[in-house]
Amino acid sequence: MSERAQIDNFTELGLVERREALAVGKFDLVKEVRRLSAKIEAKSVLNAFLETTDELAVECTSKLAHSEEAFPLRGVVLAVKDNIALKDHQLTCASKILDGYKSLFTSTALQRLSDAGVVIIGKTNLDEFAMGSSTEHSAFGPSLNPFDNSRVPGGSSGGSAAAVAAGLATASLGSETGGSVRQPAAFCGLVGIKPTYGRISRYGLVAFGSSLDQIGVMARTTYECAKVFETMAGHDPLDNTSSPVPVPDCAGNLDRPLKGLRVGLPREYREGTIQPEVANSVERAAKVLKEMGATITECSLPHTKYAIPVYYILAPAEASSNLARYDGVRYGLRRGTPPPTPPASGGEVAPPLPPIEDIIRASRQAGFGAEVKRRIMLGTYVLSSGYYDAYYLKAQKVRRLIRQDFLNVFDDFDLLLTPTTPTTAFKFGEKTADPIAMYLSDIFTAPANLAGVPAISVPFGFDDKGLPIGIQLMAADFREDLLFQVAHQLEGVAQ
C-alpha cells in the first residue's frame, strides 16, 4: 500500500482502528487535520462548510498530543452544523440576519465533546435556520451530494452529511426539528441519530421549534455515532428541558444478541409512493433481523399521515415566536438606519433614527430568506386571534394522538423498522417550487420528532443509480442503546 493511499484512509477507518493507528504513531493528528483542511478547500465545490476552524483544530490537537489523559474521543474529527454555538466563531444559521455574529459561549454538546478529545474542523452549511430538506434554502447556496453532485445532500443538516460522506470529517453534528439529521444521513449513506427529545442539551443550539429541537449525530459507522452520542447526552443544568434519565452504555453493547427482539413493521409506512428499491431494503433488513432471532410482525400507527400537517402547524408556530428575537437591535443585521457616522471628535449628535418598527421590519425583511419568511408568516397566522384554536390547538391535540400511537405500539414491540425517506436523494430544483412536495420528503421522519421518541437511519443498500438507501429504526423513549445495537448489526450485513 502506498503511503498516500494509507493516509487517505484516515477518515475511512473505524474509530477503534483510527485510535490504534494514532497510538502507534501511524498517523499524526495534526497532519491529518491539516490534510483535511486542504481537502475541504479542494472540495469547496461541495459547499459543505461555511467556516473552517483548522487553527483551533490544530491547537486542540497539539493539546491532546501533549496530554497524558485518555481522551476517549481522540481521533474524532468533527464537522458542526452552523446553528450550534462554538465560542468566538460564527453562528450564521445560513442566514444573512446573523451576518457577523460571533458566539459568546460554547454549546454544552460541543463542550463535552471537546473535553473528550474531539477536534472541531469547521461549521457546516444548512437550510436557513434549519428550515428545509435539501440545503437549497441556505443563504450561502446549496451543498452538493458527494454521491451525485446534481442531487441534494438532504437537509437541513446537509452540509454535515456531505462533509462526512466526502471524507472531510469523521463525524458531524446536525440538529433535528423534523428529520433534519436522518434524511441527509440516508441521502449520503451515513448512520444518523435523532435522540429522544431532552436527551442532549439544547444550550447553544439556536432555537427553531423548541418542543421538537434536538441535536443529532452522523458518522460512517454506528460505533462512532454511538460514542459521540453518549459523550454529549445527559442532563445539563443549563437546559431545563434536558432529561435527568441516566444514559446507558451504548457503544459497549453493540454486539448483544438480538434473539427475541420484537420488531414491528408499521403498515402506514408502506403506503403511498415509495421507491421500490427503498421498500426492498426494508424487506431485506426485516429478513436479516429475523435470521438473527428477532420476530417480525406488522403493526399500525394509525395517525401517521397527520404528522406532516401537524408538523407544519407546530414548527412554524414555534419558529415565529423564536425568530421574533431577530430585531436588528442587540445583534445581527440592522437595516433601515442612516449609515453609521465615524466617531465624532467633539459633538455627540447621533444621526436621527426612523421609528423602531421601521428598523425592525427593514432588518427582518432584508435578513430572512423566502422559506423562513413563509414559515414565520404561517406560524404567525396559526397563532393569531381567531385561528389559534382551529390550527394550533388542533395540531397539539393530534400531536397527542401521534405520541399515543407510539406508546401503544411500544407495549408490544421493542423496535419499529421503516424506510427513512420515500426516495433516495432528489435533484436540485425538483421540489423547490412546491413547499408541500418538499415537506413530504420528511413523511417518515417527522413522526418521531412529534412523539419525542429516538430514531436512527442506517445505510442499507443502494438504488440502481448508485445512490444510498437509508432504513429507519425507532424505539421507545431513551432506548438509543437499542437503536445503536440493531443498527450496528444491520450495518454488518449491508453491502
Binding site: T337, P352, L353, K394, K397, R399
Partner: protein, 107 residues
C-alpha cells in the same frame, strides 16, 4: 363533532398584509402574491386534520414529563457586558442604540 369554522379558507392578500404587520415583515408586492398562494396551499393541506374528532383529547404541549424545573437561586458569574455588546450593530458604550420609543417632550 362540528368542524372548527375554517374549512375551505384561503389566505387573501389582505390577510397577508395583516399577518406581515404582526410578524414585523414588509414583503414586496411580488412576495405578497407568492405568500398568499403558498400559505393557502399549506393551509389547505393541513385542513385534513379536521377529519379527526379531537373533542376529548388534551393538547400535547411538551413530550417530556418535566414540570417547573427550578434550580437553587445562587448568583453565578454571567457574561461580561462588554462581551454581550460585541455583537450589537449600533451601540454607545454599554447601550444599544435605538430610536426614542417612549412618547414625551422632545429634549
Amino acid at each position: 363533532m362540528k368542524h372548527e369554522e375554517t374549512k375551505g379558507r384561503r389566505i387573501s392578500l389582505e390577510e397577508v398584509n395583516r399577518i406581515a404587520e404582526l410578524a414585523r415583515l414588509s414583503p414586496s408586492e411580488d412576495e405578497r402574491e407568492q405568500l398568499a398562494a403558498k400559505m393557502s396551499s399549506v393551509i389547505d393541506f393541513v385542513e385534513q386534520l379536521n377529519e379527526l374528532d379531537t373533542t376529548s383529547i388534551e393538547p400535547l404541549h411538551h413530550v417530556l414529563d418535566l414540570h417547573s424545573v427550578l434550580r437553587d437561586d445562587v448568583v453565578r458569574p454571567s457574561l461580561p457586558v462588554s462581551e454581550v455588546m460585541k455583537n450589537a450593530p449600533q451601540k454607545k458604550g454599554d447601550y444599544f442604540i435605538v430610536p426614542r420609543v417612549i412618547k414625551g417632550a422632545e429634549t
